[in-house]
Amino acid sequence: MPSRLLDLVHNTFRYWSLLPAIVLLLVITVYPALQLLQMSVSTIEFVDGRDVWSFTPGRNIELLLSDPVLPPAILNTIIFVIVTVAVELSLGLGLAILVGRLPHGRGGARTAMILPILVPPVAIGSMWKLMYNFDFGLFNQALDGLGLGPVNWLGSTNLALISVIIVDIWHWTPFVFLILFAAVEGLPVDVIEAAQVDGATNRQITWLIVIPMLRDALAVAFIFRAIFAFKVFDEIYLLTSGGPGTATEVVNLHLYKVFFEQNQLGYGALLSVAFIAAILAFLLVSRRVTRDTTR
């Protein structure tokens, strides 16, 4: 390379090192986000493979207000988020403290717990679909062995949401465990030893020392899990596709259907904007709340 060009490469390193990331984010995230805003006040139709836009803000809002699937989808999402996050945080916390108090087996526990996080959610959905199978799934086989009748895990309106929630708990409790266990391993040993010397019982140590010291990690696990639970899609798409009826319909799945099954790009964009606003509002509020309680 001629030395003047080489000089240029060296002298502008500071700029071209950040440039590709900025360009990528502008073109693939900022521009589409702006386009999403424009889409949300438009109706888009494809004529001869070309997209034709017309400005119809009222129509999209009307569609949003009269969408019969939206209220159950929102309700299911809220139930899903509250139940999965509460159960996953409790189980993950209990398991992290338990494993931390055992002298052996940490490596094995950690190895096993990484597995569900790395496997494609779609593969997990299909695994559980087989296990929930009415005729020959694992659960109905086990019930049959106990002399109990088969249960329609995914097909009955009352049970489907619970079945889907169980899969999520199985899938993501290990993630909470990993975050909290890393925090448990980082706990200051001297504080706990000092409490033992002062005659604190194990129960007091757990509730009055260990759990309060895990606050920051708990806050992180809570925000992570809550936001991902809001966005649940892959597993439910595979297990029930929202059915039976709207029993397991959630907002993200409904969004997919509006966009890509009903091809309503304009209304889908409006729904997206509302969904993003709700998630960001949740993020801001929960960050403020956790900051106030942890510091």
Binding site: L18, V99, I114, P121, I205
Partner: protein, 276 residues
């Protein structure tokens, strides 16, 4: 920690073993089913003659595109990983090492946080329109571009956290010896950040390998990836359960390999920010 003793320790080990079995058990059950003929699945037999016919059927039968889907997934995840490491590492180093004005640094990192938080499906709609306009709809290129962008925030944060652990004095010593910033970055800091590159690389590969909602909507039969193929399997009118189990096991293989090879790297990446 205050260890458990006596009977409490026995109960503790029992509970931990139960938790591990509950996680590993479903994988084992699906693996067994993937070795059964369809008939043995229907009868729920525990004793059966194992067969690899389901794997052969899924991968090599003329009616199945699954081998092709695996190829697509490997191409997309491989190229995505390489690209996101280059773009993300450079950006992380730039933000970490050079004085950017406050609004660029905060704006950039804040936007990656927002982008990482919002449901990716909300952007797939505009992407669909944009890639159609560009003539990139239904190409692996479009999928790779979106996967690189999707993995960019995590890669940048992870690499910044690794760069922070490398003492600045090393580069300063090199400057005294007449080294230029780019040379110091290439020969000193990047070499010391190799564990970070491995962690970020493994995570980017896995996240691209398992990504579903973008691939579902931006691909068709010829460009479909493994997760899309698995979803199609599960939704066929007459579900081939044994083959579905085999396909799920194949999709799990990279996770199992990386779980054993890169465990210590992966844990740091996954729990990033949780522990100070």
């Amino acid at each position: 920690m205050n260890l458990l003793y006596g009977r409490e320790r026995v109960v503790g080990y029992a509970l931990m073993t139960l938790a591990i079995l509950m996680i590993v058990g479903p994988f084992a059950w699906i693996f067994l089913n993937s070795l059964k003929y369809q008939v043995a699945i229907y009868t729920g037999a525990w004793v059966f003659t194992p067969t690899l016919s389901n794997y052969a059927e899924v991968l090599f039968s003329r009616r199945s595109d699954f081998a092709h889907n695996v190829g697509n997934s490997l191409i997309v995840a491989g190229i995505t990983t390489a690209l996101v490491l280059v773009v993300g590492t450079l950006a992380a180093y730039s933000l970490h090492r050079f004085r950017w004005s406050q609004w660029i640094a905060t704006g950039f990192l804040g936007w990656t946080l927002i982008f990482h938080t919002i449901p990716v499906l909300t952007l797939v709609g505009p992407w669909y329109v944009i890639f159609r306009q560009l003539g990139l709809y239904d190409t692996l290129t479009a999928l790779i571009i979106t996967h690189v962008t999707m993995n960019l925030p995590m890669t940048i944060w992870l690499m910044m956290s690794f760069f922070k652990d490398i003492p600045l004095e090393l580069e300063e010593a090199a400057f005294v010896d007449g080294c230029r910033p780019l040379t110091a970055f290439w020969w000193i800091t990047l070499r010391l950040a190799i564990p970070g590159l491995i962690a970020a690389g493994i995570l980017a590969f896995i996240f691209s390998w398992k990504e579903f909602s973008i691939a579902l909507n931006l691909t068709s039969r010829a460009t479909a990836t493994v997760p899309v193929a698995i979803a199609r399997f599960a939704q066929q009118y007459e579900v081939q359960h044994a083959q579905m189990a085999a396909a799920a096991m194949i999709a799990t293989i990279p996770a199992i390999i990386l779980m054993f090879l890169g465990q210590r790297f992966v844990v740091r990446g996954l729990t990033l920010g949780a522990v100070k």
